[in-house]
């Protein structure tokens, strides 16, 4: 399964072993139903990678 990078928008995300606080980046399985729930609740936001601009010849 493909992992994607997300930024935490909620005050914190409560993982079983730790809290990840607002503004930190995390990697989650994109196809995991839990990830979808967190996206729907706007607790996380996907970090879109900017494509490198092509240099003009």
């Amino acid at each position: 399964m493909a992992k994607k990078r997300y930024i935490v928008k909620a005050d914190f995300l409560a993982f079983s072993d730790k809290n990840v606080h607002q503004g930190n980046e995390i990697e989650l399985e994109a196809t995991n139903p839990g990830t979808k729930v967190l996206l729907e609740q706007e607790a996380i936001e996907e970090i879109k990678e900017e494509k490198p601009k092509k240099e003009k010849e």
Binding site: L13, A14, N19, V37, L38, E40
Partner: protein
């Protein structure tokens, strides 16, 4: 307006604690109640001769007290001994408390957390007339609570 169907209870809550940098320990099997108080914003007022109402100004938010009541058991790694140790360590050990009313039920549920030290000690009393299991409680004071989401 239709009546909400989203009400929840505390029966499936998840109650945890951790130290400053360690992972969280689930003590739902010991925890009986979680009580929260404080956090009020200070306010002041003054009255002038003119007019019928005061001039109101606002200050800072007060600390929040979180109290856990748990079943007492004697194990060296059980909650009573852990919290007693944190309280009696020199300067007091910084701890984190975390609970989620529906925490055992999956992702996306509300959770609260705070970091502080124990201010009301977890001692053990008893009543010879009571058949109930012994419980103990303690209070941690924190600057504020954060509302988060279970992941």
């Amino acid at each position: 307006m239709p009546q909400t169907t989203g009400g929840i209870s505390f029966v499936n809550a998840k109650v945890e604690y951790g130290t400053g940098s360690g992972s969280f320990t689930d003590i739902s099997g010991w925890a009986n109640t979680v009580e929260v108080s404080g956090g009020d914003r200070a306010s002041g007022e003054v009255y002038t001769v003119d007019g019928d109402t005061g001039i109101v100004t606002f200050g800072k938010r007060a600390p929040v007290d979180v109290s856990y009541m748990c079943v007492f058991t004697e194990g060296a790694t059980d909650p009573f001994e852990k919290f007693r140790g944190y309280h009696q360590a020199a300067d007091g050990t910084q701890i984190r408390l975390r609970w989620s009313p529906q925490g055992g039920a999956g992702t996306g549920k509300i959770a609260f957390t705070g970091t502080g030290k124990i201010t009301a000690a977890p001692w053990l009393g008893g009543d010879a007339a009571s058949p109930d299991p012994l419980t103990f409680s303690f209070t941690m004071r924190t600057a504020e609570l954060l509302k988060g989401v279970t992941a």
